[in-house]
């Protein structure tokens, strides 16, 4: 069975600094999707970034980028120039490429932004 592990329950970063959230996963599949979702206090689930496993190039979305290491089954999220609005719970997530497959979430990392 596929699993997603986030080893950092909480992290803090100074505003305008850079922070990296860690995630590892386990799967026997060769092709799959990885995601980072953000859940602010409103509890809305917001897609931050997505990575297809067959792509070697790391995904980037503005201040958010990932370091995808397929062999190591590692998928970390880097947030540059942290802003107060980045404070949230961040979930790393995995999904097989089957058309209608479910998402498997990690336990989450709560990110605090210090002014």
């Amino acid at each position: 069975a596929q699993t997603v592990t986030q080893s950092q329950p909480e992290m803090s970063v100074q505003e305008a600094e850079t922070v990296t959230l860690s995630c590892t996963y386990d799967t026997s599949e060769s092709d799959y999707y990885l995601f980072w979702y953000k859940q602010p206090p409103s509890r809305q689930m917001i897609l931050v970034i997505r990575q297809e496993a067959y792509k070697q190039q790391n995904a980037t979305e503005n201040r958010f980028s990932v370091n995808f290491q397929k062999a190591a089954k590692s998928f970390s999220l880097k947030i540059s120039d942290s802003q107060l609005g980045d404070a949230a719970m961040y979930f790393c997530a995995y999904r097989r490429t089957n058309r209608d497959d479910k998402i498997i979430f990690g336990k989450g990392t709560r990110l605090h932004i210090l002014p």
């Binding site: 999707y33 999904r95 058309r99 209608d100 336990k107 989450g108």
Partner: protein, 112 residues
């Protein structure tokens, strides 16, 4: 852009009552997923539908049932509610080409 709509947004029920949660996917999305997120927990997959047929089932109690209708909206029916059913229930939808699931705002269910 249109998003996933869930209703109601908040619901308070007594133990042993029933509840019905509704989900309206993004237009033209053909797949709907239901997730349950308990307090301080990560979302857990309950059930999914593709083209009005159940496509996958997760840790959904037998007291719960769901269906997808001809207009693609979905309903999650919960009977004999228990205190432990108190949670945030998300619906997500996707279109098969996209492969990305878009989440609704969730329904907060409180069972007293």
């Amino acid at each position: 852009a249109a998003g996933v709509i869930q209703s109601p947004r908040h619901l308070i029920k007594e133990k042993r009552e029933t509840a019905t949660l509704k989900c309206y996917p993004i237009p033209r999305h053909d797949t709907v997923y239901w997730y349950q997120q308990g307090p301080g927990q990560d979302p857990q997959f309950l059930i999914s539908f593709y083209e009005k047929m159940q496509s996958d089932k997760g840790s959904i109690p037998d007291r719960f049932s769901a269906q997808q209708f001809s207009d693609y909206h979905s309903e999650l029916n919960m009977s004999s509610l228990e205190l432990g059913d108190s949670a945030l229930y998300f619906c997500a939808s996707s279109f098969y080409i996209s492969q990305t699931q878009y989440f609704g705002p969730g329904t907060r269910l409180l069972v007293l």
